[in-house]
């Protein structure tokens, strides 16, 4: 409670705060609402430009249609599966390799440790977008085009997460390591019994951030995942718009809802860790 404002003034400013925040919420929600409602109307209604703001009768058939066959022939279910695989593998894979290398950098006197650290640090600077074609060439030379591995591994190749873990590991008191040595716990045992449990919050936060990051990739999948087998839902949805004239807008809306739901749910359900992790550790 603010003790510095007079009661009268507080009521006044509270009203203002509510108004501004409500406006913000509405601005954020409006596009989502339109799509959500649109996905329950048939294509003709949308095509006429009526922009329905209330639910219509066609929700079930739209979702069933998209799920089963999809406007471009690839079932949206398949795209969702691909996106899920990609997002999960990016999140889990990156956490796994990052936590291991951060552990090695912090808890050992690794030969060339500074070199390793700085080279890892460099990777922070260049998003995948700026090295996209040479990366594509490497993936293509390895025969990984249109495979999950080709889709996922290059996205994992940066070190944000490593730095976060390193920062966190440096806050683990020296005495824990010393006590572990007294107790006869070796490095792997210490990792399993102490470091991993202590890193749970950080891992959860990173999971949210990386899941969203993986799910939302656009440019890289556009290049490397051209086959329907590995097409992600974000790419698939944009492809549906391709030719204006015969776009099935209600199915685009339906797919749009399906494409944004999983990452939004992950963020909302894990909101506490996510906000903490983002602000305390990112970058």
């Amino acid at each position: 409670m603010s003790t510095t404002d007079s009661p009268g003034g507080r009521a006044g400013t509270d009203w203002l705060a509510h108004a501004v925040l409500l406006l913000g919420v509405v601005l954020f929600a409006l596009p989502l609402w339109i799509v959500l409602m649109g996905s329950s109307h048939d294509a003709a209604t949308i095509g006429r430009g009526e922009v329905p703001l209330l639910p219509g009768p066609h929700a079930a058939e739209n979702y069933a249609a998209a799920w089963g066959r999809g406007p471009t022939g690839v079932p949206v279910a398949r795209m969702l599966w691909n996106s899920t695989v990609m997002a999960l593998c990016v999140a889990v894979g990156k956490i796994a390799i990052s936590i291991l290398s951060a552990y090695a950098v912090v808890f050992f006197r690794l030969p060339g440790r500074n070199l390793v650290f700085w080279s890892i640090f460099l990777t922070l600077m260049l998003p995948v977008e700026v090295r996209i074609f040479p990366t594509f060439k490497v993936v293509s030379d390895l025969g990984l085009v249109n495979t999950y591995a080709g889709l996922i591994i290059p996205i994992i190749a940066s070190a944000t997460a490593t730095l976060l873990f390193r920062q966190f590991f440096l806050t683990i008191p020296d005495e824990f390591v010393e006590a572990a040595k007294m107790d006869g716990a070796g490095p792997l045992r210490f990792f399993r019994d102490v470091v991993l449990p202590l890193s749970r919050t950080n891992m959860a936060a990173l999971f949210v951030i990386l899941f969203v990051y993986g799910w939302n990739q656009y440019l890289w999948p556009l290049l490397v995942a051209t086959s329907e087998d590995v097409e992600t839902v974000v790419i698939g949805m944009v492809k549906m718009i391709g030719s204006e004239s015969n776009t099935d807008w209600s199915l685009v809306m339906t797919t749009c809802v399906l494409a944004l739901l999983p990452p939004v749910l992950v963020v909302l359900l894990m909101q506490r860790w996510f906000v903490k992790g983002l602000t305390e550790t990112e970058k």
Binding site: P173, E175, F176, E178, A179, K181, M182, D183, G184, A185, R189, D193, V194, P197, L198
Partner: protein, 358 residues
């Protein structure tokens, strides 16, 4: 239970040598307190005994076995850390039993030992809690318990009381002493607090700049400090030091402040006029109409006693501790009882004892 022998322990960090050859022989069941100001090397010495640091030279022998090259876990020791180092994600019982679990002891045996230690420390009710749910004193006890369950040959304490508030510190100090006596485990206790050192130790090691300045019982350290550093470090308020010169063929000191005082315990060796440092504890000074005039600058009444700060005519500072109340200002004549004088060489600061009778 075991003895501990340190022989010529040296330690360098890069070009800087922080321990210059420390020797120490600890008897079975003895409680040794290593005391000194920060940076004196006391923690490094403890960590070398623990095996957390490798010495640059010298040997560590526990119970007759040379452990210098062994890992901490192989030395059969236990350590209580300054910040307790309790794992926040484990319960009290898990924290205490972790070392035993690693050693592969059967579950029942671990439970038995943890239970016994908990009973000994009065923390049975806390076994299922996590460290963050405990008070400072309770954490301290758990840290002790973790050391006890291992039934080690040697306890190491690294300033374990410094995170507690003053009242709890006094209480835990007594408890640690009681427990150590009861278990009879040889112990090394590091602290920077002289009161802790005096009350806990069977013997003290006063460390100064990487050397053991004195190894002796608390009363010996207090009554016969080996040099001016030890003299100033132990005792509160600190011992007064006055400049003087050897006089009367070694039988007396001529203080810079004026008077010539005869030694009560016999003549000192040395040339006439050799510079000396004379130490005298504030509590040994007493008012005397025939004494030196002390111009009072600050008077601190502590209730049962009063501490007076003043200056002698020559400008040297002097602190006096008197029982009961005392004058608040003015000039107080002070006498220096000959039997309370400590004599040190001015250059080296070493204690200068009477020459043995010829």
């Amino acid at each position: 239970m075991a003895t501990l022998d340190l022989a010529g322990i040296r330690k360098s960090f890069g070009p800087v040598e922080v321990l210059h050859g420390v020797d120490l022989a600890v008897r079975d069941g003895e409680m040794i307190v290593i005391v000194g100001a920060s940076g004196c090397g006391k923690s490094t010495l403890l960590r070398i005994v623990a095996g957390l640091e490798r010495p640059s030279g010298g040997r560590v022998v526990i119970g007759g076995r040379d452990v210098t090259a062994l890992e901490p876990a192989e030395r059969d020791i236990a350590m209580v850390f300054q910040n307790y180092a309790l794992y926040p994600h484990m319960t009290v019982a898990q924290n205490m039993g972790y070392g035993l679990r690693i050693r592969g002891l059967p579950r029942a045996e671990i439970a038995r030992r943890v239970g016994e230690a908990a009973a000994l420390l009065g923390i049975e009710a806390l076994l299922d809690r996590r460290p963050r749910q405990l008070s400072g004193g309770q954490r301290q006890r758990v840290a002790m318990g973790r050391a006890i369950v291992r039934e080690p040959k040697l306890f190491l304490f690294d300033e374990p009381l410094s995170n507690l508030d003053a009242k709890l510190r006094v209480q835990m100090r007594a408890e640690i002493r009681r427990l150590q006596k009861r278990l009879g485990v040889t112990s090394l206790f590091v602290t920077h607090d002289q009161v802790e050192a005096m009350t806990l130790g069977d013997r003290l090691v006063v460390m100064h700049q990487g050397h053991a300045a004195q190894v002796a019982t608390p009363m010996e350290v207090f009554e016969r400090p080996a040099d001016t550093y030890v003299a100033g470090f132990i005792g509160s308020p600190a011992m007064n030091v006055l400049a003087g010169r050897l006089a009367e063929g070694g039988r007396a000191v001529a203080l810079a402040a004026g008077p010539v005082i005869r030694f009560a315990d016999g003549p000192r060796p040395g040339a006439e006029g050799e510079p000396l440092t004379i130490g005298i504890r504030p509590e040994h000074l007493r008012p005397d109409p025939a004494g030196l005039p002390l111009a009072l600058e600050l008077v601190e009444p502590l209730g049962s006693e009063t501490v007076l700060h003043g200056r002698l005519p020559g400008g040297e500072a002097l602190v006096v501790k008197l029982a009961g109340a005392a004058p608040r200002e003015g000039v107080l004549p002070i006498a220096l009882p000959p039997e309370a004088l400590h004599v040190f060489q001015a250059g080296s600061g070493k204690r200068l004892d009477p020459a043995p009778p010829a």
